[in-house]
Each structure stands twice: as structure tokens, then as C-alpha cells.
């Protein structure tokens, strides 16, 4: 850049320099899942069954139930947020969860591996699985939808092979065929039996992911690749590496969720995590991350995940049928998507 100041004498005010505040609708979309979570919480308090004046919905045990139940899909949704910000999608995550829970169980039970080697191996497997999908997608310019759909089938197939078409029960103890008892901590609650360990894993992972997404160069590149891939490439962003990395992250997240699943339920089955990819995508979209890529927030995803869990909880506490729960979730997803598309159109991005 030229060192001299290039001044434009008497230039008129730049046409659109007048302070243009963010569209209120855009603000709503940005915080939609937090708003939604607050609304669900208020609804939960109002409609909660009470006992001795105590609001059951706010009972610490109940809140622990909510956040425990969403921890696995939450971990997956965190990974999915990276992928969706790059305008991609990963349909394989539920199946990779199943594969990971089976591998975790069989390594410890039939393989006789210790806790640390098992967890490391499963996490690396998830990363490699995701990276392979990302590589195939970028190398052959295939839609991630198709590649990860194939990945879903592959992971379920592998899980059946590893499990020999059986469930693997995890029993604890010392010796062959038994898992180290410390692994069972994933199914427990800490701090006076209040905070589920599975939820702690979710929260720690979410915190790390938030930092990576918002404060590192990699996170910035994730936004750039999704927002305008060409611009990113011209600016020297290693686009293919970024894309491969985000699928490696979803693979890692799915593997982590699989380990949590195996630990929570003392059990590995090739059918574990069936349909989780869709719940995770719903949580991400409700969280305000754009399926068109380029925009999104980790906090939104966390709020979206918990909101879906809280909604399911309050409906069950009031004995409302699962059908209503599905319909309510459907309405929320549609609302979130419509808001997003309205904002896009206003911003002139909706081409």
C-alpha cells in the first residue's frame, strides 16, 4: 500500500456511509435460539407441574435430565456447526457415533485394551473417517450430501462388522472381558449428584469449539470458505484444507459422542445414534447458523440444542403426546429457516 495519504479533495460523503444499523430481523435471527430458549424456559415455568409450590421444571434434577439427554446430540451439533458454516453438511455423524460406541465397547471388552488407548484410537478413527469424507468431497468435487450419505452407510456397515451383528454389553472390573470401572463415570453425575458427566463433556467441547471458531485463524477461514469460497481462495485461504478439517472435526465430535454413549449406557450397538444427524442439523439451524454458509454461532447451536431438549421435557412433564412434540419441533425449524431466508433476502444475499 502506498505510504502517502491519497486524499480525495472535496469528495462528497460516501453515498451509503450513513450509519445503517443492523436490521432488527437480523438481530432476532442472530439470537433466535437464545430467544427461543428463554421462551421455552418461560413456557416451561408457566406450564410446569408443581409440587408443594415447587416448579418441577426448575428442579435441579430435571434440569440435569434435560442437559444430559441432549449432550450427545449437542456434541455432534457442535461439530456440525463448523461444517454448516462452510456451507457443507455431514449426514454420517449418527452412524459414526454408532461405529464409535461399538468400537469403544469391543476394544475394551473383547480387545482387552485399556481406557486411554481405546479412547485415543476411537477419536483418531473419527478424525480419519471425517477427513476421508472431506478429501473425497473436495478432491472429486462431490456434494458433501452424497459423500456423507455414503459415509453413513459405510459407518453402519463397519459397525455391524465390528460388532458381529450383536450388542456388546460393557461390564466393569479387572481382567479380561471387563472394562476399567473409571469409564462408567460417563454415566454418573458429579458435584453432589447434580451435574451429569456427559453434559460436562458437552460443555467443555462447546467452549473449546467456540474459542476455535471465534478467535483463531482457522475459525475465520471456516467463515470465509462458507461466505465466499472464491474470495477465500484468492485471498490465499487454503480452502481444501479447511474443508477437509471441518469434516475431520465432525468425525471427531461423532467419535466423542460415541464414547460418551458407550460410557453412559454401558453398551455398544451398531444401531446407536440412529437419526442423530437430523437432530443435530435441526439444533444448528435453530441456532441461527445459515445452511447457505458463512454465518453461524456456536452459542446459538448450544442454545438450540438445549431448547429442543427443554421442549421435549416440558411436553412430557405435561403428558403431551410425542406427536405434538414432533409437530412443535417441525414448526420451530420452519420458523428458524424462514427468518433466515428473510434476512438473507433483505441483505441482498439471496441469489
Amino acid at each position: 500500500m502506498s505510504e502517502e495519504k491519497v486524499s480525495v479533495a472535496g469528495a462528497p460523503a460516501v453515498p451509503a456511509a450513513a450509519p445503517k444499523h443492523r436490521d432488527p430481523l437480523a438481530l432476532i435471527v442472530r439470537f433466535q435460539s437464545l430467544i427461543g430458549l428463554v421462551l421455552v424456559a418461560i413456557g416451561g415455568i408457566i406450564f410446569s407441574p408443581r409440587r408443594h409450590g415447587e416448579i418441577l421444571f426448575l428442579n435441579p434434577d430435571n434440569i440435569a435430565n434435560i442437559v444430559r439427554a441432549v449432550s450427545e446430540t449437542g456434541i455432534i451439533a457442535i461439530g456440525m456447526t463448523f461444517v454448516i458454516i462452510t456451507a457443507g453438511i455431514d449426514l454420517s455423524v449418527g452412524a459414526v457415533l454408532g461405529l464409535s460406541s461399538v468400537v469403544t465397547a469391543s476394544m475394551m471388552i473383547s480387545g482387552g485394551f485399556g481406557l486411554v488407548p481405546t479412547i485415543l484410537a476411537v477419536l483418531i478413527m473419527g478424525i480419519v473417517f471425517g477427513a476421508i469424507q472431506g478429501t473425497i468431497s473436495t478432491r472429486f468435487r462431490l456434494e458433501p450430501f452424497i459423500v456423507t450419505l455414503a459415509g453413513l452407510q459405510a459407518a453402519r456397515g463397519l459397525a455391524l462388522v465390528v460388532s458381529g451383528n450383536q450388542y456388546i454389553n460393557i461390564s466393569y472390573g479387572d481382567g479380561p472381558g471387563l472394562a476399567p470401572p473409571v469409564f462408567a463415570v460417563l454415566g454418573e453425575r458429579l458435584f453432589n449428584n447434580t451435574v451429569p458427566v456427559a453434559t460436562l463433556v458437552f460443555i467443555v467441547f462447546a467452549a473449546i469449539a467456540t474459542i476455535v471458531l471465534n478467535t483463531t485463524r482457522f475459525g475465520r477461514y471456516v467463515f470465509a470458505v462458507g461466505g465466499n469460497e472464491r474470495a477465500a481462495r484468492i485471498s490465499g485461504v487454503p480452502v481444501s484444507m479447511v474443508k477437509i478439517s471441518v469434516y475431520a472435526i465432525t468425525g471427531f465430535a461423532a467419535a466423542l459422542a460415541g464414547i460418551v454413549h458407550a460410557g453412559q449406557f454401558n453398551f455398544g450397538s451398531a444401531n446407536d445414534g440412529m437419526g442423530y444427524e437430523l437432530t443435530a442439523i435441526a439444533a444448528v439451524v435453530i441456532g441461527g447458523t445459515s445452511l447457505f454458509g458463512g454465518a453461524g454461532s456456536m452459542v446459538g447451536t448450544v442454545a438450540g440444542t438445549i431448547m429442543l431438549g427443554a421442549l421435549a421435557n416440558i411436553l412430557q412433564l405435561n403428558n403431551i403426546t410425542p406427536a405434538m412434540q414432533l409437530l412443535a419441533t417441525a414448526a420451530i425449524i420452519v420458523l428458524a429457516a424462514v427468518l433466515q431466508s428473510l434476512v438473507r433476502r433483505r441483505e441482498g444475499l439471496g441469489r
Binding site: 407441574p49 449406557f265 446407536d272
Partner: protein, 329 residues
């Protein structure tokens, strides 16, 4: 409104609880009832954690439970659908614990994963009655009771019926199995084989898995009839597969005697198929719903101090003789 109603119910329970505690303090040696708040005219909530509503048999269980619970004025039945997902079902059991339901009924989708949730309910002082499927542990200790049928015995009955009534002079028979490696599929297959052993002139010429669903059953049985045109009897491990097999037999123009399992009511169920003469028989897989509500009455209304830990419900053979009668029920 339900909330208000439940509020007053709780108030009543507290009063009763206080009263009961006094009684216990007064008579320290009397055996304690399983639920301290039990009362002849109390209001109680029964939570049922169903494994997966999408299966017709499980819908049938829900219907029977609803019907049986309606008979008891003080009972409110809440059903939560685990949707075939252990995580969902666990969270629903936890929600029932939060609600402090008075009795938890559960058909666990998988045994081991639901075991901790059942333990939490027991620890919270909620009696747990398991229906149809068990969690890990022993009834009477790790959970209150198990009520269910015996898959092996039911299929064995079907086998005996084949050996004695349908094919007394022998012939070829075939089996459609449920989802391979699932416990009921294996038990029903082995039970039927055991049952037909009584007649050595019967040969089982084909057995294939059709995963409990009618379309796979139709395909599989069509192929069986191609390979073995002389099949006289087909044993299907559930009613839906029997319905699929009937379509295959009709398509092939064969008169095959079909036996179903479950004995589901309603227009698509096995009882009507037998009444119409489409199938030879079906063997009910009892839901245990009535027994479960009976047991709940004993615990909550009659203040029972203990209940039978295992209740095996007998199967009923539904044949041309009794099908029409049973349809009305």
C-alpha cells in the same frame, strides 16, 4: 385442570404420608407397604416408558394398558415413547422420576442401557414393573417385578399345534424369523422347532429372516414357495409377517396353512385373519397389561407389602373355533 388436580392430590398424599408415618412409628413391627402413600381411594399416576410406539405390537400394549387403567378411577396413565432410542427412553424415565410417578412401568428398548435409569427410579422409591423385556438384574431385587410372556413357550405351542392338528400325517413346513440376533426372534424360532419335534414326519424345509415386517415376509415366502412348492404350513414369528406370507401364498395360488404370533386385535390383526379363515391360527403374545394394572392396584390401593417378582402370562391359541368369539373382545 390437570395441574391443579395433581396439586391437591399431592396435598392429600402428604397428609396420608404423615398419617402413615405415624402409624409406622406406632407399630414398628408391622411390614411396611411398598408405597407408603398407598390408599384405597387415592389418586395415582402410573408412568409407562414404552420402547417404541412405531411397532404395532407395542401400540397394542399401549391400548390394553390404557383400557385397563381406565377401569381404576384413581389411576392416570402417562405413556412416553422411547422411539427406539435408549437415550430418549432414559431421559423419559428420568422425567418420570422428576414427576415422582407412583409406579413406573417400562418395556426397555435395550436391557443394559436402561438398567441405570431403572436403578435411579428404584432408588427414588418408585416401584418398577417391567413389561415384556427385562433390564439387567433380578426381579424382586433390582426391579420390582417382571410381567411378560415366554417367547419360547408360545412358539413351542405353535409347533405342537402344527404337529398334532395341522399336519398329523406329516409334510413340509417353513419358518419366517424376526430380526436375526434379536432375542425374541431366536427364542421363537427355537421354540417352534422344539414343538414340531413331536411329529418326526414333519420336515422344516426352509427358514428365513424377514425382520418382523410384511413386505420382506412376502418376498421371502414367495421365494420359499418357488423352491418348495409342497410347503403345507408356514410359521411366522409375528402377525405382520404372517400377513405378508398370506399375500405370497395367494399370489402363488397355494393353499398354505399360516400360523401367526402375537394375536393382535383389529382389522389388520391376526385374530380377524383367523376368523376369516385366512390363517390357520395365531398364538397371542400376551401384553401383560391387565396383570400390570392389577399389580399396580395391589401396590397402590391395597398397600401390598410384596408382590410376585415374576409373572408369566400364558398364551392363548386362536383358531377357527374361538377366533369369532374373541373378535368382539
Amino acid at each position: 385442570m390437570k395441574t391443579i388436580q395433581r396439586g391437591s392430590r399431592r396435598a392429600l398424599q402428604v397428609a396420608l404420608l404423615a398419617g402413615t408415618s405415624l402409624c409406622i412409628a406406632g407399630a414398628a413391627y408391622a411390614a411396611e407397604p411398598m408405597v407408603k402413600a398407598c390408599a384405597k381411594d387415592g389418586q395415582f399416576i402410573i408412568g409407562f416408558s414404552q420402547a417404541n410406539n412405531a411397532e404395532p405390537y407395542r401400540q397394542h400394549v399401549n391400548d390394553e394398558l390404557n383400557a385397563a387403567a381406565k377401569e381404576v378411577p384413581g389411576f392416570t396413565l402417562q405413556i412416553a415413547d422411547g422411539a427406539g432410542n435408549v437415550n430418549t427412553q432414559t431421559s423419559q424415565v428420568d422425567n418420570f422420576i422428576t414427576q415422582k410417578v407412583d409406579i413406573l412401568l417400562i418395556s426397555p428398548f435395550e436391557a443394559a442401557p436402561l438398567t441405570p435409569a431403572v436403578k435411579r427410579a428404584m432408588d427414588a422409591g418408585i416401584p418398577v414393573i417391567e413389561l415384556d423385556r427385562k433390564t439387567v438384574g433380578d426381579p424382586g431385587k433390582d426391579y420390582t417385578a417382571f410381567i411378560g410372556g415366554d417367547n419360547f413357550k408360545i412358539a413351542e405351542e405353535a409347533g405342537k399345534y402344527t404337529a398334532k392338528t395341522l399336519l398329523p400325517d406329516g409334510g413340509e413346513a417353513a419358518v419366517l424369523q424376526g430380526l436375526p440376533s434379536s432375542t425374541p426372534a431366536v427364542e421363537r424360532l427355537n421354540g417352534f422347532k422344539e414343538g414340531v419335534k413331536g411329529n418326526p414326519k414333519i420336515q422344516i424345509v426352509a427358514e428365513q429372516a424377514a425382520d418382523w415386517v410384511p413386505d420382506k415376509a412376502q418376498t421371502a415366502f414367495s421365494a420359499m414357495l418357488q423352491a418348495h412348492p409342497d410347503i403345507k404350513v408356514l410359521y411366522a414369528s409375528n402377525d405382520m409377517m404372517a400377513a405378508g406370507a398370506l399375500l405370497a401364498a395367494k399370489g402363488a395360488g397355494k393353499d398354505v396353512k399360516i400360523i401367526g404370533t402375537d394375536g393382535l386385535p383389529g382389522p389388520a390383526g391376526g385374530i380377524e385373519a383367523v376368523a376369516k379363515g385366512d390363517w390357520a391360527a395365531t398364538f397371542t403374545y400376551p401384553t401383560g397389561a391387565k396383570e400390570a394394572i392389577e399389580m399396580s392396584k395391589k401396590i397402590l390401593l391395597d398397600c401390598a407389602t410384596s408382590v410376585e417378582p415374576t409373572v408369566t402370562v400364558e398364551t392363548t391359541a386362536i383358531t377357527a373355533e374361538n377366533a369369532k368369539q374373541l373378535m368382539g373382545k
